[in-house]
């Protein structure tokens, strides 16, 4: 197609580029600069160099939040991925009604976190919650744990709820990957006498690895960004025990109104995501099968 004015393509991408500049690229640079300032929303910003970052490094709360974030990432990612893969294997069958189950398992992923978090809040309620009710009735536990106020438990509750909510997503992506594996390869392995476990280990997993890589990247980024579940279920508490970086940013920016300090935390988050993602691309060739065309 050559029948257009050289300006025309820019008209087509114009709205997108405008939005990109105003709401993405502009803010990305702005928050970087802001991280070197002291900016309470009512006053004008003052340049304070690296002071925000220095404050972060000497803040106990920051290290607690950082630790929580890593615990979250390191448990949520394998949890959601393994559960998602198992669910994908389970629903990758030719059975009557299988589409119904697939639809059902995916359902939590599209529902509002606020709404389901309320239900989980109620389930985990210490005195009247159904979970502790079940523990008392069927397992004779006298007093169930205080799931949402015990500092040793809150983060784990958030992790479980997050895995519950997103496992259907990991499942769907794995399922698409499983269905893309050519049937004749599986057939050939069967004829060669491979058992199910061998086929899974030596054929399915390697062929699935590009999909696994995609799921891994997306899941890690999601875990680092976790906010809504924290906001609705625990508000990061008690005493910061369930706070993670994204929530900590929100809290500093919009509760304590420390825009500059919050921006420096945001850049720590960006840095972490970048390092982990680049590291993943780096080690990719050691375990991800190459596309052969």
């Amino acid at each position: 197609m050559r029948h257009y004015h050289p300006i025309t393509p820019y008209l087509f991408i114009g709205p997108m580029i405008g939005g990109l500049l105003l709401f993405r690229i502009g803010p990305i640079f702005a928050s970087f600069l802001m991280s070197f300032t002291n900016w309470n929303i009512r006053t004008n910003p003052t340049w304070i160099g690296l002071a925000n970052y220095q404050e972060l490094l000497s803040s106990d709360v920051f290290w607690l939040v950082l630790r929580n974030t890593f615990v979250f990432v390191l448990t949520y990612v394998p949890g959601a991925m393994i559960l998602g893969l198992l669910m994908a294997l389970l629903v990758n069958q030719k059975l009557r009604g299988i589409a119904f189950f697939r639809g059902l398992y995916f359902m939590p992923f599209i529902t509002s976190m606020v709404a389901v978090a309320l239900a989980w809040n109620w389930i985990f309620s210490t005195r009247y919650g159904v979970l502790n009710g079940i523990l008392t009735t069927f397992f004779g536990v006298q007093r169930g744990p205080a799931w949402l106020s015990d500092t040793n438990l809150t983060l784990w509750v958030l992790i479980v709820v997050s895995i519950w909510k997103s496992a259907g997503f990991q499942m769907m992506v794995f399922l698409a990957g499983l269905q893309g594996i050519p049937q004749n390869i599986i057939e050939a392995a069967r004829i060669d006498g491979a058992n199910r476990l061998q086929m899974f280990r030596h054929i399915v997993l390697p062929l699935l690895s590009p999909v696994t890589f995609f799921v891994l990247i997306v899941s890690i980024i999601d875990a680092f960004k976790t906010f809504e579940v924290t906001y609705t279920m625990t508000q990061g508490g008690p005493r910061g025990s369930s706070s993670t970086l994204a929530y900590f940013i929100y809290q500093n920016a919009f509760v304590y109104q420390r825009m500059g300090y919050a921006s420096s935390i945001a850049y720590v988050l960006v840095l972490l995501i970048a390092i982990v993602t680049i590291a993943n691309f780096w080690v990719r060739r050691y375990w991800v099968a190459q596309q052969v065309n």
Binding site: P9, I13, M16, F23, Y105, F214, S263
Partner: protein, 308 residues
Amino acid sequence: MNAAIVRRTVSAVTARAHSYYALHTARRLLIYALLLLVSVFTIFPFVWMVSTSFKSAGTIFALPPQLIPDKLFQPGMFDNYTEVLYRYDFVRYTANSFFVSTMTGIGQVFTASLAGFAFARMRFRGRNALFAILLLTAFFPTEVTIIPEFLLGARVFHPILQPIGGWMNTFAPLIVPSFMVGSFGTFLMREFFSTIPLELEEAAIIDGASVFQIFRSVYLPLSLPSVTTLFLLSFINNWNELLRPVLYIRSRELYTVTLGLTTFKGEFESAWNLLLAGSVIAILPLLIIYVFAQRYIVQGIATTGLRG
């Protein structure tokens, strides 16, 4: 003798067939059992949510907790729902969410299909670089961009737009950002437009159609499934969006359903039957859309890993 062999063979074959069949049935039952087990884990919170939403205030704290709600099929069964919908204004919140989500959906389709078309089918300087930047910026979490976005709104847009109602505490900050940028949407549309055979547009060019006419009358109609997917994903994302409503909306009459729910929770800490009726109201519209458009939604999310 021959007949004996045949008989023996036949019986051996049928025995094997039977055991194979039995194995098959056992395996099948096992799979169904597992499927049901996972279903329980998946839907239990929903079941409990619905059950609680049909309980009266007096019975939500019953010990041990009851699965079958006391108001079920009793007069006044939907009392909690009518109370939440009318007294606590969830009718309005739901309508607001509908408006915001529809507008962002339309916006996404508009900008992403235009940009996707240009990236797929036009040549211009900086095309690949711009596309790369568009995808790269999607990796920056909202938490990074939201602070400058908020300040830009409060300090620049709000004063400028003051004569026509301002920016803060309006729907504009909920709609405009996702109206204008959508990396995954553009990606989705570009992928789709690239698959359309060039011969189709050549015929249109011979007929003397302009680029925009070709886009509108050749490409857009063909891309209806992708457009539907894009619209629905954007609708869902914005329906569930929490952060921007929390930051920008102050007046109750502008609350979205997610903001309404969180505020409601702060005010009625222990009215679980009402809170969960509100949750059901927040979830139900999406669930209905999901049931009817599952194919589009699942495909779109599984191929782009999409949010935003």
